[in-house]
């Protein structure tokens, strides 16, 4: 018996909505099995993993805090990938954004009014753009493949950050530990509510919506799609694929940089050697999970945030290890990706006997 796919005559809109639910159902079954095998009440396990994150204001807020950088980086990347531009160095652009933006409170520590924050956010965005411009220019000018250059620049940016906070940008009163001065007042993002949610979330949402409009309603969006799907046709239409490379890198790099400065100016509150638990890489999954659609990316960011926070809650509430949570996260992602196939394809099980069972998955 084997599985065959059959292309649907058109996108099955119903599955665009149903497929995530099917994926969750499958994960629940598999997860229940894993928990049962590990000697944990499957109901309790699933509750802690998937429901608990939504049961208190605190955990919902934390979910939002975790999802915000993923969404902001993810929407930028989704447009780059639509244009067939392979920026996988968002982690580095995030880091450079943090460095550029943090230069304001570190070098001009006395400056503390609303314009300070604006300057930080603008500089952070520029930092990400600068770091994104390097692979773009190397690609346009020398034809150097951006997968390699953008990835390698991630490590370079992290070492630069390390050098800065261990050396010239170290807090003079910090007992020579590797951290900068702490930011306060208008050097940090205004908080919304009494938890850690801040203005950054609103900014990320607005940008996601704007980009959704850009993609669906403007000529630029059309250009992105055409050059991504049929570069030759795009060139006949007078679009420049080289300019598109630069545009995609500046946009995705700038947004990653903005996410970087917003993160150090909110949840961390200072510059230090580790500022990201791999946001720039996780956002790649987010972009694709959101089907490269800015609005989809918002939901995908929340899904990823749940999978991380659920894993952490499971460590605390169930006593499972981080490793088990990671495996579980992997399985969840596999299911979601696999179920997306249903949107475009029918799955048929082809047996030796001619009886064709149509999977009602």
């Amino acid at each position: 018996m084997r599985i065959e796919l059959e292309k649907r005559p058109e996108r099955a809109e119903i599955f665009a909505w149903a497929s995530p639910l099917i994926a969750v159902a499958l994960t629940v079954v598999t997860g229940g099995l894993i928990f049962a095998l590990a000697g944990i009440n499957p109901l309790k396990g699933l509750y802690v993993f998937f429901i608990e994150p939504f049961t208190s204001l605190w955990s919902i807020e934390e979910l939002i805090v975790k999802a915000t950088p993923l969404v902001l980086i993810g929407v930028g990347l989704s447009i780059a990938y639509r244009a067939n531009v392979w920026n996988i160095g968002a982690e580095g652009q995030f880091t450079m954004g943090a460095i550029f933006g943090a230069a304001v409170p570190i070098l001009l520590n006395g400056w503390n009014d609303p314009s300070t924050l604006v300057a930080m956010l603008v500089l952070g965005t520029i930092g990400g753009m600068v770091w994104g411009a390097i692979p773009a220019l190397l690609k346009v000018r020398f034809g150097a493949n951006e997968i390699l250059t953008s990835l390698m620049l991630v490590y370079v940016s992290q070492l630069l950050l390390d050098w800065l906070v261990r050396g010239i940008w170290r807090d003079p009163k910090g007992f020579n530990f590797p951290k900068s001065v702490g930011f306060d007042g208008w050097q940090t993002m205004p908080v919304i509510g009494d938890g850690r949610v801040n203005l950054g979330t609103a900014i990320a949402l607005v940008i996601a919506v704007l980009l959704a409009v850009l993609m669906s309603r403007t000529l630029k969006g059309f250009e992105v799609r055409v050059l991504g799907q049929a570069p030759r046709a795009g060139r006949f239409a007078g679009f420049s694929s080289e300019r598109m490379v630069v545009f995609a890198f500046l946009l995705s790099g700038g947004l990653a940089g903005l996410a970087g400065i917003m993160e150090v100016a909110s949840t961390i509150g200072q510059l230090q050697p580790n500022i990201s638990p791999g946001y720039g890489f996780t956002a790649i999954i987010v972009a694709f999970l959101g089907r490269l659609n800015p609005i989809g990316v918002i939901f995908a960011g929340i899904v990823l945030a749940v999978s991380y926070l659920g894993g952490e809650a499971a460590q605390v509430g169930l006593g499972i290890s981080d490793k088990t949570a990671r495996v579980f996260q992997g399985i969840l992602l596999f299911y979601i990706l696999a179920c997306d196939t249903l949107i475009l394809y029918r799955i048929r099980l082809v047996g030796r006997a001619p009886a064709e069972a149509r999977a009602h998955a």
Binding site: E4, L148, L151, M152, Y155, R326
Partner: protein, 304 residues
């Protein structure tokens, strides 16, 4: 001192080279598998565990390859049969592999492993200067070099290679010509998994015979970058792996000499040099374009 440095470089380059060659074949078939890190780390834990339990490093090597293949099979089923997005699936595979290897390796932590023995041919290995470098390595080092030659030969001098490249360059035409695109890709993905697994096994069996969680420490990503660096040509992957290892080791050597250059700068040199080298070789755009698999990362579903 030169001999010792070269020996260190060879050890540092081999796991990168093994994984890169595997991924190179996968990508030549048009499939982008970003799960190299996950497959490597699974290879590392399986190789270590089997060698520890059986006492045979060679069985460990076999297990490493099989573990890498097992993860690759999962990737193949998802991306080829269920046509999931390759980039996202590969990244999820890395998360999954790191978690699973940690679980599987829980009881191996803190246990000394079995070391893959180095070749010792009386007379030859004792030759001055070149003896140890040419005749005193472990089998995986020789295997990695042979692999480069064999893959190079198969890709460009045999029918199998021709079909593989055809599938990677234009899966529609390849299908129309009657080649089984999906089957070819399954094979290429499994080969990539086996080689990545070997790269991981090299870490836990020969490089540093021990198991700690996440011991690949990002080498899978470097291997991925090296495939691009190589512009999908096997011999260039070898140049890339050795170049990367050489700059890394020379950075350490410069630190040991106390030259006073910031360690962070020396540590970033391998990445900068790789970028620079890529820029230089990319000038020849014709060669680059000819060797880039045109269907890289695109799913294929035959029309019926």
């Amino acid at each position: 001192m030169l001999e010792a440095t070269i020996l260190t470089i060879i050890t540092a380059a081999t796991p990168l080279l093994l994984a890169a060659i595997g991924e190179l074949v996968t990508e030549r078939s048009g499939v982008l598998n970003l799960g190299v890190e996950g497959m490597m780390v699974m290879g590392a834990v399986a190789g270590f565990g089997v060698a520890l339990m059986t006492g045979s490093a060679l069985l460990g090597v076999v297990a490493a390859a099989l573990a890498g293949m097992a993860l690759a099979l999962l990737f193949a089923v998802l991306t080829q049969t269920l046509v999931t997005n390759q980039v996202a699936t590969g990244l999820a595979l890395t998360l999954f592999g790191i978690g699973l290897s940690g679980l599987a390796g829980e009881r191996f932590v803190g246990q000394p492993g079995v070391r893959l023995q180095k070749l010792d041919i009386p007379g030859l290995t004792d030759l001055p200067y070149v003896g140890k470098i040419l005749f005193g390595q472990d089998i995986l080092v020789y295997f990695s070099v042979v692999l480069v030659l064999v893959v190079g030969h198969v890709l460009f001098r045999t029918r199998i290679g021709l079909v593989l490249r055809a599938v990677g360059d234009n899966h529609g035409s390849a299908h129309a010509l009657g080649y089984r695109v999906i089957a070819v890709r399954y094979g290429a993905i499994l080969f990539g998994g086996a080689a990545s697994g070997l790269g991981g096994g090299y870490l836990s069996l020969a490089y540093t015979p021990q198991w700690v969680e996440n011991m690949t420490a990002g080498r899978g990503w470097i291997a991925l970058a090296l495939v691009v660096f190589a512009s999908w040509l096997p011999w260039r992957a070898m140049v890339g792996a050795y170049l990367f290892a050489t700059v890394t080791i020379l950075g350490f050597a410069a630190q040991g000499m106390g030259l006073g250059i910031p360690a962070q700068f020396l540590s970033s040199l391998p990445y900068l040099v790789t970028i620079l080298a890529l820029v230089i070789i990319s000038k020849n755009r014709l060669v680059m374009r000819a060797n880039t698999p045109a269907c890289l990362g695109q799913s294929f579903v035959p029309d019926r």
